[in-house]
Structure formats: C-alpha cells, structure tokens
C-alpha cells in the first residue's frame, strides 16, 4: 500500500427501507467491502458496537441479509453532553449472483468488523480445460 492516508470522518448513512420497523430505533448502513476469489465470495462489514450474539445472518432466495443489533442498555444512566455520531442498529442485504454453498458459510466478528465467507458451489467455480 502507498503512503497511508489521513482518515476522514464520514456521516453514517441512515437506512431508508421499503418496510418500516415496528421496534423503536434507527437503522444505519454498514460500510461494506465485497471481494471474490476463485472459490469464495467474502463480505466484510463494519458494525462498531455490535456483539457477536446480536448478529443475524440469513440467506434466502439468493438474498443475503445481515442484521446487527446494538444493545442500548449499555447507555442507561448516561447523559450525552457532546456527540459526533448517532448510535443505531445496522442492516444491509445483497442479492448474490453466484451459487453459494449455504451449509459452509462462515462468519467472524472481530473488533466490530464482520467477515462472511461464502464458498461457491463446485459448478460455479471456474474450471480450466486443457486441450488434449
């Protein structure tokens, strides 16, 4: 990597969904990186403040949906005096183009970053054909 850049602050994007939520609280869009290798698709999401037990990952009809809930109980008894960011749940969904082996999906949460490894099915992997 080149000379490291100075990090800039970005305003969180509030999610405007098609469906409305019945529970109170705002939802934000986690910053996401997606990259692909020959055998897997990797989705990396930033969800600061979300604990392992509060992450829900669902894959249905080729739609991957990730929900990260914030535990607001931690903020009880605390009175804000100065704020630069808002705190809210995270949610985002993606339509997957490749065939994924659902049983082998792996998820890891470390330092507020969720890494999902979605292995491609054998049929979806590129195959090299040698000329005989």
């Amino acid at each position: 990597m080149a000379d490291p850049q100075e990090l800039a602050v970005r305003e969180k994007k509030e999610l405007v969904g098609k469906e409305e939520k019945t529970v109170p609280g705002r939802y934000y869009m986690p910053y996401t990186d997606i990259h692909e290798t020959d055998d897997a698709l990797t989705v990396v999401m930033e969800m600061p403040g979300v604990e392992k037990k509060d992450v829900i990952i669902a894959l249905e009809n080729d739609v991957l949906r990730v929900d990260g809930q914030i535990d607001f109980k931690k903020y009880e008894g605390m009175e804000p005096v100065y704020t630069e960011y808002n705190v809210g749940h995270y949610t985002r969904s993606f339509t997957l183009s490749n065939k994924i082996e659902q049983e082998r999906i792996e998820a890891q949460l470390e330092d507020g970053v969720l890494t999902l490894t979605l292995p491609k099915t054998k049929e979806a992997q590129p195959r090299r054909i040698s000329i005989g």
């Binding site: 850049q5 990090l7 910053y31 903020y75 009880e76 100065y82 704020t83 507020g112």
Partner: protein
C-alpha cells in the same frame, strides 16, 4: 435526573438525545487540533465523563491513547487488507492513519483514566478531579 426512564424506548430516546447534543460546543476545536477521526460521543455519568469512539477494524495494538492534563490524544492506523488474487466488487471501508487530540473543559484525574476496547468501540472513562467537583455549601 434519569434520562431513560422507560427501558422500552431507550433506543429512540437516546438517539434523539444524541442528535440534540450534536450542536453542543463542549469539545470546541482548540489549539490542540489535529485530525477529526475517530468520531466521539461524550457522556456524563454522575460526576464522571465517558468518551466513546467508533474504531471498527482497529486492533488494540494499533491504538495509542495518551492523556496529558486535560488533553486526550487518540492516534493509530487502520488497515484494510485483502489477498492479492481477490477481485474487488465493492469497496467502502477506508484505511489510513489518524491522530486526534481533544481538550476537555473539565479537570480530570489523569491517573484514573481507563480505556476499554470492545467490538470496534473504544470507551475512555474519565474521572473528574476531586478539586473540580462542585461542592455544596451549607447556608449558615
């Protein structure tokens, strides 16, 4: 005064309160200056103050927290690494270095400051210095 009397709407009450205090000049830009990352929220709990910063993807070893007098400095680097072979479809996460210093409008006890990093957030517990605490005076 309890800010969150009903646990059921803690979420929306807190979020509204956070928006309200956005305009507060509590941490006005001072001569200590520096960067603006990471974003911080400041809370009061009793006599003491708590700063919570969002630092997703930054390892504890890459975070440097310094306290000098009433100034707190947060510096470090954030790296985003992927294998060379991977083809990137979407790239929204940013990497880079940061160095931010803030000066608090209260006196803190520098020896009592505690830092805790968990799930991509950094919490700094700042106990107010004894001599800075308000004292009640008996009316004779």
């Amino acid at each position: 005064m309890a800010l969150f009397p009903d646990p059921f709407d803690t979420a929306s009450t807190l979020q509204q309160a956070l928006d309200t205090f956005r305009a507060s000049r509590w941490l006005a830009p001072g001569p200590s200056g520096g960067g603006t990352y990471p974003p911080m929220n400041v809370f009061r709990k009793g006599d003491d103050f708590i700063i919570i910063a969002e630092v997703p993807g930054i390892k504890k070893s890459d975070l440097d927290v310094q306290v000098k007098g009433n100034t707190i400095r947060l510096a470090g680097t954030k790296s985003v690494n992927y294998t060379e072979k991977a083809s990137l479809h979407r790239r929204e996460r940013l990497a880079g270095r940061f160095d931010r210093a803030v000066t608090l409008p209260i006196e803190i006890d520098p020896d009592g400051v505690k830092a805790e990093s968990r799930d991509g957030t950094l919490a700094l517990f700042l106990p107010r210095a004894e001599r800075d605490k308000p004292k009640s005076i008996q009316v004779a």
